[in-house]
Amino acid sequence: MSASMPDLTVPIGSVTLRNPVIPASGTFAASYGRVYDLGRLGGLVPKTLMPGYRPGHPPNRLTETGGGLLNAVGIPSDGVEAFLDETLPAYKGWGTPLIVSISADTAAGFAELVRTLEGQGVDAIELNLSCPNLEEGGRSFALDTAMTAEVVAACRDTALPLWAKLSPNAEDVAAIASAAVEAGADALIVANTLTGIAFRRDGRPALANVTGGLSGTPLKPVNLRCTYQVAQALPKVPVIGCGGIATLQDALDYMAAGASAVAVGSATFTRPLAMIHLIDAIATHCTTKGIAARDLTRRA
């Protein structure tokens, strides 16, 4: 058994992640740099950026339910300028790829954000397609092949890699994935949260927005299924699994389903070092098996 460090890097198209573990957008902040060296992560992903100032949803925005979390934060935003001036600098210089998640309520809005992010030291763009499409009565982009393709195509006029983040609420997630890839997506993040609801003991909805996104352990079987379906349908496209990942076994399960890397969200709230411990566990696992991290992925 060699004692040398295993190769943990994984290629997601033209971007090489330092290791297969990145944060799930919206569950991470540069302030975790006070807790651990952000350079240890596979990549960095700030909270989804949207155009302009947005208050987000009123409180309560988050609750524990069904063994997971339910959130309706509503993507509050201080706008692009504040993002470029205040948020982005804290994410730069860690020596690990920077993936910026964006969303908008029109395809043109997405494209505008991509243009703004060019030349800003960003390594890839994550398209959060779960937002409501204002031009289609508020139906989420990620539920529809045409709407998904429209967003990706509108953004494609860039040298930046485009990663499309899909929704497990889609009836046929593989069809949405194919539409995204045909329109030019370089990689897929599978997936965002499932729509759920929770009530307080007094029978009132626990979240001000009533419905919210279910994350954490309960999501895993569903997003694992989505990952498997997408990887089966698109064997050549890199997939980043997301949903209920906390342990080495969770990560290995997503890799067995075809994911090259994983995004960790809710687990960070439960244990702030969750990603660091997962990376260590993957390193040990690779060392024991004498393989590189990229060899953990099973593809058709």
């Binding site: 919206g26 934060v73 210089g93 790829p97 590189a292």
Partner: protein
């Protein structure tokens, strides 16, 4: 063993790092040293990780149980002492119940210190506090007492028969007031009497942590009299560190602000 390929990436150790946004924060399991429980209030001390040295009143940490079935989210607790690290809390729901169930020697998971402390408040401070916000204010009184500064406390009592975890609010309030007594000049009163009491004392600075309707009155009184006020806010805090954007409170600029960016804010900024 596949050889290390660093072509696509820079090794973590060779990169100059940007400055993190604040002092180091500890995350990990810490051994419980002692627990005392009485009248629905638990006081707990821990072996103290070095990162907590220099913690100041107003700062808090996230605490969670390692037991099977513990809630997914940690619970925020004001740090009321650091030699050793100490918290005090009332039993509320599942999170505090399991934290309170810890035995000496058991390890709890901590993240902290978090938040910004009170600024220097000067000699003339009156604290307005009730049972649900006592931790932060107790820390303030203790810190001032250690620095030889006196503090006046207006303790807003609750309806005595209402339940407060396993005991009545009356019993819990009495126990909490006893915790303040060594460190402050304490007056118990009900919410309606707060303004009268402030009038009678004319403090230079007010630090308040109480229910919103009390806070609104204290805010109005401070503004009317040009008195500097600070609010210690409490809302549910899923992450404690600015990642979840859930711990919000509306401010007078009509925007939501993250309470974990505080939890101490200038009183005039907050909308109650």
């Amino acid at each position: 063993m596949t050889a290390v390929d660093t072509s696509g990436t820079t090794p973590a150790t060779n990169t100059p790092r940007p400055a993190p946004s604040g002092p180091p924060v500890f995350a990990g399991d810490v051994t419980v040293r002692s627990i005392t429980e009485g009248s629905g209030v638990t006081v707990m001390t821990f072996d103290t990780p070095h990162a907590f040295d220099g913690t100041r009143a107003g700062q808090f940490m996230m605490v969670s149980s390692n037991r099977d079935g513990a809630p997914l989210l940690a619970r925020p607790m004001s740090i009321i002492g650091t030699e050793p690290l100490e918290i005090a809390f009332g039993y509320q729901g599942e999170g505090t119940r399991l934290i309170a169930a810890a035995e000496p020697g058991e390890k709890l998971h901590l993240l902290g210190p978090l938040g910004d402390p009170f600024p220097p408040l000067g000699p003339e401070v009156t604290v307005v506090v009730e049972g649900a916000h006592f931790g932060t204010m107790l820390a303030l009184c203790r810190e001032r007492h250690a620095a030889g500064e006196a503090t006046r406390v207006l303790f807003v009592t609750r309806a005595p028969e209402q339940p407060a975890g396993p005991v009545t609010a009356g019993e819990q309030d009495a126990a909490l007031m006893a915790m303040f007594e060594p460190y402050a000049d304490l007056t118990a009163l009900n919410g309606d009497a707060v303004i009268e009491a402030l009038e009678a004392r004319h403090p230079g600075v007010v630090a308040a942590g109480a229910f919103d309707h009390v806070m609104a009155r204290v805010q109005a009184w401070c503004e009317a009299g040009g008195v500097t006020g600070y609010a210690a806010l409490q809302v549910a805090m899923p992450c404690g560190i600015g990642a979840c954007k859930s711990c919000i409170k509306k401010f007078r600029d009509d925007r939501y602000h993250l309470v974990c960016d505080g939890p101490i804010f200038p009183l005039e900024e907050v909308a109650f």
